[in-house]
């Protein structure tokens, strides 16, 4: 029985990680035709970095994810605070609408955003991408921050004021530090969502601003080039670093 459960476990992990492993191994393959081993080489990484359009797309994607995550974290945190702290008309509706954005199929969001941008005459490019990405990142940030706020002791700001802190100082020294892990988590979530979004981006990006997921998608459409493996490996390393960073932040702020 013991070997059975062991091998079952091994099988599960094999299925999970073999594709990734194959991708990494083949990114170092010298052979042009993808499925036979032609010796170790870094040529695909070289060709990747000498591909100007590709590098540009990578920077574009990074910049877009960075700004989209930051903007949605700021708006999301303020929304969560308002939803948590105040009672106002339409609070339930607002809360429900966040879930609608989160649950609705991406394609619906994509089409409606495109329609909206056309209507107001917004030129498709960085701005339209940013607006779209902030839209779909926002509910995730709000929900993450709200979860943290629900465990927030309302006496803490009172204690701070009692000790002589103004409302602004309370926010700076008590509220923000306490919800910081949620802000970080929300930001990272937004960053990741923005980084690998294809569907919405396909609709709202313009010819002047190409981003990585779309670039990869168009590369793969004409046939699987080994550069894609190299790119995938780089993205994998990048996500692992991000994951470790978030874990490190969380463990440091854990109470």
């Amino acid at each position: 029985m013991r070997w059975l459960s062991r091998s079952y476990l091994a099988l599960v992990y094999l299925l999970l990680y073999v594709p990734i492993l194959v991708l990494v191994v083949f990114s170092f393959n010298d052979s042009r035709t993808g499925y036979n081993w032609g010796g170790f080489s870094l040529r695909w990484y070289e060709s990747l970095f000498s591909n100007h359009a590709m590098v540009q797309a990578m920077w574009n994607s990074l910049w877009l994810a960075l700004t989209a995550a930051t903007v949605s974290t700021i708006i999301g945190a303020l929304t969560a605070l308002a939803l948590h702290r105040y009672r106002f008309r339409g609070k339930k509706v607002l809360n429900g609408m966040l879930f609608v954005v989160m649950m609705s199929p991406e394609i619906v969001l994509a089409i409606s955003l495109l329609g909206l941008f056309m209507l107001v005459g917004l030129k498709l490019g960085y701005v339209s991408l940013l607006l779209a990405h902030v839209t779909f990142c926002l509910p995730f940030v709000v929900i993450t921050v709200m979860a943290r706020l629900s465990g927030f002791d309302e006496r803490l700001p009172e204690a701070a004021r009692d000790l002589g802190a103004s409302e602004f100082t309370v926010t700076r020294t008590v509220l923000i530090p306490v919800i910081m892990p949620a802000l970080m988590a929300g930001w990272l979530l937004g960053f990741t969502l923005s980084m690998d979004d294809v569907v919405v981006s396909t609709f709202v990006s313009g010819p002047g601003y190409e981003i990585l997921p779309l670039r990869i998608y168009s590369m793969v459409r004409v046939g699987l080039k080994p550069e894609v493996n190299a790119l995938g490996s780089l993205l994998l390393v990048f996500s692992l670093v991000m994951l470790m960073l978030s874990q490190w932040i969380l463990s440091r702020s854990k109470q």
Binding site: G164, A165, Q255
Partner: protein, 378 residues
């Protein structure tokens, strides 16, 4: 009473149309330990929050050392609060928690370090300054909260049921320590509690509150021995209520028919007339339990007995079905005395140990109040 420190005059407050405080006036003296005591919902916490500045009265004013502070926000009042669940900042060390108030005053670093260390030494937590609140026990967190509040040397310390989250033994220790701190610091303590025992043992004066009204204001002895009304008598300690009827009024003495006995009692401070109905109040420890062959007192039988260590508490059922609580100390002549259930006894008391109250119009107490009084006793 010494010089007035804080004066509340004509304070009224409503929440959602419900009256919490009603035309309440109270003067707190400099350096005293005053307790706000009452069942939950009596307005005691609202009153404390009003002193701290978290609530503002609808009507009336709050004056501190002659200055009107009714609308002053909490950060600009020279008072500090110890919160019920301590409200320590979870992301700061013990040191930073205590230093917070001084940092807000922009004190120099060396002074902050000195004063924080002094405050921590006062609550015996010198060695814990690097810990985070979640690494401390409940009692230690409590001490940090106290240190954090007194480090600013406030004119007044407001304590909102600070001991309610601690277990019985720790609570007793902290009671003693709070008293010691108050003596050492010489600052005024305003203490909120629903625990009457705590109130009696710690306070210089007790404010008994119910439904936003002050029921009685007095020293623990006054409140316990001379309750102003039925509520206070029931809420603080246990009391036997006997119905009495005045049969004769004669200057300083009156005759009262109580449980069929005709007793000569001192005239109470309120007006009495013949045939008036009275409450004759007797604390369990004032009841004398006599042998059945005694000629004095009212006959009854023991229906409950509880050994309490230093006392023997019993319940005696009289012939009319009325139950009387008695609490007797063990006598050195007879350390083994005890009752058996059903044992016949007679119940009496020494004249002058009773306390008289006039019948009130709003009697009897509602179930809710009974419950509140019960909860407060335990």
């Amino acid at each position: 009473m010494t010089k007035a420190l804080l004066t509340l005059s004509g304070i009224s407050k409503q929440f959602d149309g419900k009256t919490i405080l009603n035309e309440l006036s109270l003067t707190i003296g400099d350096g005293e330990f005053i307790t706000l005591l009452g069942p939950s919902g009596c307005g005691k916490t609202t009153l404390l929050r009003m002193m701290a500045g978290f609530e503002h009265p609808d009507r009336g004013s709050v004056t501190l050392s002659g200055t009107d502070i009714t609308q002053t926000p909490p950060e600009r009042r020279p008072l500090n609060t110890v919160f019920q669940n301590y409200a320590l900042f979870p992301h700061m060390s013990v040191f930073d928690n205590v230093a917070y108030g001084l940092k807000m005053e922009k004190r120099p670093k060396t002074e902050i370090r000195e004063r924080v260390e002094e405050a921590l030494a006062m609550v015996q937590l010198e060695d814990f300054s690097g810990r985070k609140p979640h690494q401390l026990s409940g009692g230690q967190q409590q001490r940090v909260a106290i240190a954090r509040a007194v480090v600013k040397r406030p004119k007044m310390l407001l304590l909102d049921e600070p001991l309610s989250a601690l277990d019985y033994k720790l609570r007793r220790t902290m009671q003693v320590e709070l008293k010691r701190l108050q003596r050492e610091l010489g600052i005024t303590f305003v203490f909120v509690t629903h625990d009457q025992e705590e109130a009696l043992s710690m306070s210089d004066r007790i404010v008994v509150l119910k439904d936003g009204y002050i029921q009685q204001l007095g020293t623990p002895r006054e409140v316990y021995e001379r309750p102003a009304n039925v509520f206070t008598a029931r809420f603080i300690g246990q009391t036997n209520f006997f119905p009495g009827r005045v049969t004769r009024v004669d200057g300083k003495r009156i005759s009262v028919d109580v449980l069929g006995l005709n007793r000569e009692l001192n005239t109470p401070s309120f007006r009495v007339s013949v045939n008036q109905l009275l409450h004759v109040l007797l604390r369990p420890e004032d009841i004398r339990v006599l042998a059945p062959e005694d000629t004095e007192g009212v006959p009854g039988k023991i229906i409950e007995r509880n050994y309490k260590g230093s006392t023997l508490d019993s319940v005696i059922e009289l012939e009319d079905g009325r139950e009387v609580m008695a609490s007797e100390f063990f006598d050195e002549d007879d350390p083994a005395f005890d009752y058996s259930l059903g044992e016949r006894v007679r119940v009496s008391w020494v004249d002058g140990w009773e306390w008289l109250l006039a019948e009130e119009s709003d009697e009897p107490l509602t179930d809710e109040e009974e419950l509140a009084a019960d909860v407060a006793e335990h």
